[in-house]
Amino acid sequence: MSQVFDRRSVLKASGVAAAAVAVGGSVATASSVWAEEADPAFTHGVASGDPLPDAILLWTRVTPTPESLPGSGQGPEVEVTWEIATDNAFANIVETGNVVTGPDSDHTVKADATGLSPATTYFFRFRLGDAVSGVGATRTAPAADAALAHLRFGVVSCSNLPQGHFGAYRYLAERGDLDAVLHLGDYIYEGGGGDVRPHVPAHEIVTLADYRQRHAQYKTDEHLQRLHALVPFIATWDDHEIANDAWSGGAENHQPDTEGDYAARKAAAHQAYFEWMPVRSEADKIYRRLRFGLLAELSMLDLRSYRSQQAKPYDDDVDDPNRTITGAEQMAWLRDGLINSGSQWKLVGNSVMVSPVLVPPLPKDLLGPLLKLLGLPEEGGVVNPDQWDGYTADRGRLLDTLVDNGIRDTVFLTGDIHSSWACDVPRDAGNYPNSPSVAVEFVATSITSDNIDDITGLPPRTVGRVIEGALTTLNRHIKWAEVDSHGACVLDVTPAAVQMDWFFLANKNDPASALSHGRSYRVRAGTQKVARVGSPVTVGNA
């Protein structure tokens, strides 16, 4: 772990403070000045998250002594002071407070700065004795009744550190026009080893110490650290924060015979997550809702903690009404939020795809009874039962809620599958477009996690194109799929439309790799249909 402690790519307070400015209402930065040496006590950087109109969650991790390494359980209890100000020179500090931390919380620090003003850019930092952290910039959410004209989010998922560099995070940090970054899960990966760069620890993580060390490693990545320092995150977990294809009682990548009790592993993973991520937690519950004035409301889901075990492909278990992906309580919360939302755009942070991806999709009303008789899924063959396709009863409940209550402008924002998609979401995919779209879904590709060209070893845009053609031909509601590229997305929200811009890395193995615009899709208000647009939104035009 010495390499973690000694890492030099951290923000220097004065550097970021000088670079971070408010542009057009969003947190922004010019080309940041990178640190020569930051105080080793704050090696893991600073972060903020879950913006509310009057509060923001601040995060850091301190290393008060050389032995206080992540996951070590070593080191003293210390008191850390936080400060939040309206200026980057901290001449106008609006709130300050102290947090005691120690080995029990892995020396992580979380402080909810309250009493803030809506839609305001703030600067924050931490002190441990004479040591001062880098300066972070953040921004509160607009007032609940604000009729704002614009929001812009970064949208990311699936950042597997050994499979590449986080150039996509760097790109988002450099944009300078984001209100927040939505991380849709797979922020860390549980596996060991590494291709491009090694995981720490080198083995698959299972224990609390393992998970803490893994989080610590990710928090020292220079690109991720920079983005955390400049833009508040709104994150949820997917499976790899614990183990591949996790469900409420286990995971595909968990072997009880050799890795012990799954509940203990899950508890350890969750504890480390809540320690190391700038998210609010309430009794191990991560699903939550954040409002951005009258313009948007964001429901962040937890699709791993309460779900039934995955069914097998082409197994009619996917239709079992007693199986769930959300759990009853979360489903009731989600439906209630959609029905009673006072905001125009109902954004749903959704870790796995909700759109049917079926081979082929079949009209349920027509062929459902026959398929049921044959023991096949009523809506058609399921490619990936880990997605909502594997839990059709819950998907039906959710989509019925939208149509039964006349709810418009619902946008699912999804990660998980390391590829890019723009979809209409019909209630009955086999009858689409006669079964009209009731929502849309934008799927962000992976930051680094392997996809088709990586897995097949074939050149990009070869076999991938064949797969994309098959998927969109068989599933007419899927308007676009791209299964080769990695990168980040930008979601632009206005009363008139929501637009997703995909930006792709030229080479994920190169930390300095450029990104270029890949594709853009938009849903206009009231339409529930995606349509391609030629250009991304202008950077900084917030």
Partner: protein, 424 residues
């Protein structure tokens, strides 16, 4: 202004005419911005929001681009024609207007009937208040007989719909729009309230509603032509630049198959406590349920009624009318249908029409504030949660009309206008 009772004639409303006569001297001295202002509220009855942005209503799309479109607009519940037109002109909820649905159980008459009589409407409307309080003439051009009935003689000028088509009891849009244009030419009302019924009426009957919506589409195409006539007429007259045009729907529309029907009456009759003691006012996608048995059994009966209704296939939810602010004549319980379902009560053949509304899935509506007047903001989409009952306070704000006793329940949509140009 003397009333002439030919059906083709534009009638002078007695109350409005008298008020105008008495206040004629002050007509020219009403609030400054209102002196030459003309406001037209055009209701495309039953129009869905996806249709308003679709290929067949190009005029509505154009108006939206020239004004403010409310992307989250909804009707008030119950999403029926009469209560929402009443809400537009009164600005208050049904528990104050007396009109919660199209059809209610009338215990005095011992029948389920439409609220299509002038005495059914208990709240003041813009149609008589503007002439009475500001000397501003108003007009109503309403294609449906029950709308003509419920607003009675409130407007200064009114058109009695004709020719009424059999079965639909409405005048086709081509005639309604003709009357509206005549109304402008003959009387030039400052506020005109127009209902275009084709989209709704042909939608109700459209057996292809769940698929290609053939009749509905034809109606949309024709209504678009009528709206084009209206805009062109104002431009030809040279009055477009002093006009505010509000285009909205009263509710939208949902289609169901013959097998997706809900009959509660039969299930109530199977319950010994309820048999013969429940009346149902069926409103397409909503049923108003009335306990008519002994008062001493009411509490127990409502539990039975709720349990039966909630467990019926196709029922979305059951509510206490008070929580929905529907008023006492809405009965004891209100049941909503799911999307793709309809109520048919009392018998399974009582409601054979495929297109229905009244349930929450039909609450989403288009709502556009446009026109050529310079105070209209251009090219806005607003996420504000506009409701049909916002029309009255919005129009009142334009003319400088005070709120009614007890204030508005709706909210003036002033974000659609340049605030500096609004009357103080």
């Amino acid at each position: 202004m003397a009333a002439t009772f030919s059906r083709r004639t534009l009638l002078g409303g007695a109350a409005g005419a008298a008020a105008l006569g008495a206040l004629g001297a002050v007509t020219a001295s009403t609030a400054g911005a209102a002196d030459d202002l003309r406001v037209y509220v055009l209701v495309v009855d039953g129009c869905r929001p996806d249709e308003a942005v679709g290929e067949h209503l190009s005029v509505v799309r154009d108006l939206a681009e020239q004004g403010t479109s409310y992307s989250q607009a909804r009707s008030i519940t119950v999403a029926e024609t009469i209560p929402n037109h009443v809400a537009m002109m009164t600005g208050v909820r049904p528990d104050r207007s007396g009109v919660p649905a199209n059809s209610v159980w009338d215990p005095a008459r011992g029948e389920v009937r439409d609220l299509g009589e002038a005495t059914d409407l208990k709240a003041p409307t813009l149609l008589e208040r503007l002439p009475a309080e500001l000397g501003v003439p108003t007009a109503s051009v309403l294609s449906k007989d029950y709308l003509f009935g419920v607003f009675g003689e409130r407007a200064s000028f009114r058109w009695e719909p004709e020719p009424l088509l059999p079965l639909t009891n409405h005048a086709p849009d081509i005639f309604t729009m003709g009357a509206a244009l005549d109304m402008i030419d003959d009387h030039d009302p400052a506020l005109m309230f127009v209902n275009l019924g084709d989209v709704d009426r042909f939608g109700h009957m459209d057996l292809s509603g769940s698929s290609i919506r053939l009749l509905r589409t034809l109606a949309l195409i024709d209504t678009n032509l009528q709206l084009e006539r209206f805009v062109d007429h104002l431009k030809d007259r040279g009055t477009w630049e002093r006009s505010v045009v509000i285009v909205l729907a009263d509710h939208s529309m949902d289609w169901s198959t013959p097998l997706s029907i809900i009959n509660l009456d039969g299930q109530f009759d199977d319950d010994p406590l309820l048999a013969g003691n429940v009346q149902i006012a069926q409103n397409g996608g909503a049923d108003l349920l009335y306990w008519t048995g002994p008062a001493s059994s009411r509490a127990e009966a409502l539990v039975h009624m709720r349990q039966i209704a909630e467990s019926a296939e196709g029922v979305l939810s059951v509510h206490d009318p008070a929580e929905l602010r529907l008023g006492t004549n809405a009965g004891d319980l209100v049941a909503y249908a799911k999307e793709g379902w309809r109520f048919t009560d009392p018998s399974v053949i009582s409601n054979p029409i495929p297109g229905n509304h009244g349930h929450p899935t039909t609450e989403a509506i288009p709502f556009i504030v446009s026109g050529g007047h310079p105070m209209v903001r251009r090219g806005q989409v607003s996420p504000a949660p506009a409701l049909t009952m916002d029309v009255a306070p919005t129009v009142a704000a334009l003319f400088g009309l005070a709120p009614p006793p007890g204030d508005w329940d709706g909210e003036a949509r002033t974000e659609a206008f340049q605030s500096a140009l609004l009357p103080a």
